[in-house]
C-alpha cells in the first residue's frame, strides 16, 4: 500500500540522520506515549524522546479510568517518564487523572520535578466531581523540600481543575510567578476568598469556575484582557483598564457591588471592553442594574450577550418585559444585544 511511497532507496533511513534537535522537535508533536514508543525503532532513537520539553500525561479515554489497576499503571507511567526524562527545562507539565488524597506523595514528587525543570505551563486536573476532592499539597509551597522560589519564576500558565487549594496558595503563585499570564481554577471546593491583585501582575487571562464556596473575589490586574467567572457570589473588579472580553455567571441573587450606594465604584470605566457575556440573568433588579452599569461604563462595548439561566424559576412574562427594556437600553448605547 502506501508504505513504500514515502522514501526512495537513496534516502533510506534519512530520518535517522536528521540532527537530534530536529527529531526531538518532531517527537514533541506526538502524544507522549507515541513519542516514547519510538525508542523501540533502533539505537538511534532510544533516548531521543527523553528530551521532549512537553509532558502531557493524558490517560486517553475517560471511561477506562476506573479501577485500582489503572491507577497503579498511571502512577508508574508518570514516575517512569520522570525518572528517565532528560530535558533541562519543561514547556508543559500536565497531569490529568482522578487522583485522591492517598496519592499526595506522588503529586508532591511530580510537582518538585516540574518546578526543578522551570516549568512554564503547569496543569493539574484531578478529574473529580465528587465531594472527596484532592487537596493540593500546600505545605509543599510554603516550605518546599528541595525547590527554591526561583523555580517558580518561569511559570506562564497555571491551571488547577478539581484540585483543592486555598486562596493563599493561589496568591502564593501570583506573588512568586512574575511571568504568569494565565490562571485557571475550576472546582476548587475549599476556596473561599481570593485576591488577584497587584500592580506588577502581567496576568492576561483569568478563569474562576465552579468554586461553590468562594465568597469574595477581588480582581485588580492591570494587564487582564479576558475574565471568566462562573458561579460566584461577590466580586469586585478594579484597575482592569485593558479588559476586552468578560463572561460572568451569577449564582445567587446577591449584589455584585460592594458598595450599596454607588454601583459605579466597582465598574470603573472599561475603555477596551468589547464583549460582555452575562450568564444566569434572571430578571432581578440587581441583574438589570448590572446591565445598566455595564452599558454606562464600557464605552467601546460592541456586544452584550445575555444568557438567562433556566435552572432558576423563570417567568416568561418577566423575560419578555426584561428583553424589551434591555433592547431599548442597548439601542440607545449602540450596542448589539444578543439573548441566548
Amino acid at each position: 500500500c502506501t508504505t513504500r511511497s514515502f522514501v526512495t532507496d537513496d534516502d533510506n533511513d534519512r530520518i535517522s540522520r536528521l540532527p537530534d534537535d530536529v527529531l526531538v522537535g518532531i517527537l514533541s508533536l506526538l502524544l507522549l506515549k507515541e513519542a516514547g514508543r519510538t525508542s523501540v525503532l533502533s539505537y538511534r532513537w532510544i533516548n531521543l524522546w527523553k528530551h521532549i520539553p512537553s509532558l502531557d500525561f493524558d490517560p486517553g479515554r475517560r471511561s477506562e479510568l476506573i479501577g485500582s489497576d489503572v491507577l497503579t499503571k498511571y502512577l508508574k507511567w508518570v514516575d517512569s517518564v520522570i525518572s528517565s526524562h532528560k530535558s533541562p527545562t519543561l514547556k508543559q507539565f500536565r497531569i490529568s487523572f482522578p487522583l485522591s488524597k492517598s496519592n499526595s506523595n506522588s503529586i508532591t514528587r511530580w510537582l518538585e520535578f516540574a518546578f526543578s525543570k522551570h516549568v512554564q505551563r503547569l496543569e493539574l486536573d484531578f478529574c473529580i466531581y465528587f465531594i472527596n476532592t484532592n487537596r493540593f499539597p500546600e505545605g509543599y509551597l510554603f516550605a518546599p523540600p528541595t525547590t527554591t522560589l526561583s523555580d517558580f519564576k518561569s511559570l506562564k500558565a497555571l491551571s488547577f481543575k478539581s484540585v483543592d487549594l486555598s486562596g493563599g496558595a493561589i496568591e502564593f503563585f501570583l506573588r512568586n510567578c512574575p511571568l504568569l499570564e494565565q490562571l485557571i481554577v475550576h472546582s476548587a471546593r475549599k476556596l473561599s476568598k481570593l485576591e488577584v491583585c497587584g500592580s506588577s501582575l502581567v496576568l492576561k487571562h483569568l478563569e474562576i469556575v465552579r468554586c461553590p464556596f468562594l465568597k469574595s473575589l477581588k480582581v485588580a490586574a492591570p494587564s487582564l484582557t479576558s475574565l471568566t467567572i462562573m458561579d460566584f457570589e461577590g466580586v469586585s473588579l478594579e484597575n482592569i483598564p485593558t479588559l476586552v472580553d468578560v463572561s460572568i455567571t451569577l449564582r445567587m441573587p446577591r449584589r455584585v457591588y460592594d458598595d450599596d450606594d454607588n454601583d459605579d465604584d466597582i465598574w470603573c470605566r472599561h475603555e477596551h471592553l468589547k464583549v460582555f457575556e452575562f450568564c444566569g440573568y434572571n430578571g432581578r433588579t440587581c441583574d438589570d442594574a448590572l446591565v445598566e452599569c455595564i452599558l454606562k461604563n464600557c464605552i467601546v462595548l460592541e456586544k452584550i450577550i445575555i444568557d438567562p439561566c433556566i435552572e432558576y424559576s423563570y417567568n416568561r412574562f418577566s423575560r419578555s418585559y426584561m428583553e424589551k427594556c434591555a433592547r431599548t437600553k442597548a439601542k440607545k448605547h449602540h450596542v448589539e444585544f444578543v439573548i441566548r
Binding site: 516514547g36 533502533s42 486517553g60
Partner: protein, 163 residues
C-alpha cells in the same frame, strides 16, 4: 529598510552549490539568521548560505515569497503552508527541515515537523520502520528489553495497522 524608503530592497543569497538567488528583503527576513545579518549590516553583498543547496533554497524562497504576500491572517497562512507542503516527498521535507533549522525559520520548521509527525501518528513500530526505511539494529533480546522498559508506551494505545 524597504518600508522606510519606499523602494524594495533586494538581497542576494548564495547556496552551497554556488547558485545565486534574488529575494526581497521583506520576505527574506522571515529567516532570523538572515534578519540578524541585515540588522548587523552584513547583508550588503552576497549572503552565503553554506548549509543549503540550490534546489532547497529555491523552494524555501518560493515559500518566503508566498507566505509574506499573505497579510496577517493565520488561517490563510496555514492553508498556504499546507498546500505548499502537500506534494513534497520525504527527501524534500528532510532537506527543508534542515534548511529551516539553519535559517531559523520557526514557521516553516514547525509546519514541516508537523507534516513528518503526522505520518508517524498512531502507527506501530514496524510500520514506521518500513515507511522511513529505518534499520532495526537491536538484537531480538535488546529489542525485548527496550520494549519492556517502555511498556507504558504500548498500553492503551491503538495503532491504525498491525505490527
Amino acid at each position: 529598510m524597504a518600508a522606510e524608503t519606499g523602494t524594495p530592497t533586494t538581497l542576494t543569497l548564495k547556496s552551497n552549490d554556488d547558485e545565486l538567488f534574488s529575494v526581497a528583503e521583506s520576505a527574506a527576513i522571515l529567516s532570523v539568521t538572515i534578519r540578524n545579518m541585515v540588522e548587523d549590516g552584513c547583508a550588503g553583498g552576497v549572503i552565503p548560505l553554506d548549509n543549503v543547496d540550490g534546489k532547497t533554497l529555491a523552494s524555501v524562497i518560493t515559500y518566503m515569497n508566498g507566505i509574506s504576500a499573505i497579510p496577517a491572517d493565520e488561517e490563510k497562512k496555514k492553508s498556504y503552508r499546507d498546500k505548499f507542503l502537500s506534494d513534497k516527498d520525504f527527501e524534500t521535507l528532510a532537506d527543508m527541515v534542515l534548511a529551516a533549522n539553519y535559517l531559523n525559520m520557526s514557521c516553516l520548521m514547525d509546519a514541516v515537523s508537523a507534516k513528518i509527525a503526522q505520518v508517524m501518528e498512531k502507527k506501530s513500530v514496524g510500520w514506521v520502520r518500513r515507511k522511513f526505511g529505518i534499520e532495526n539494529d537491536y538484537t531480538p533480546e535488546e529489542e525485548a528489553a527496550v520494549k519492556e522498559e517502555h511498556k507504558w508506551t504500548f498500553e492503551g494505545v491503538e495503532t491504525d495497522d498491525d505490527n
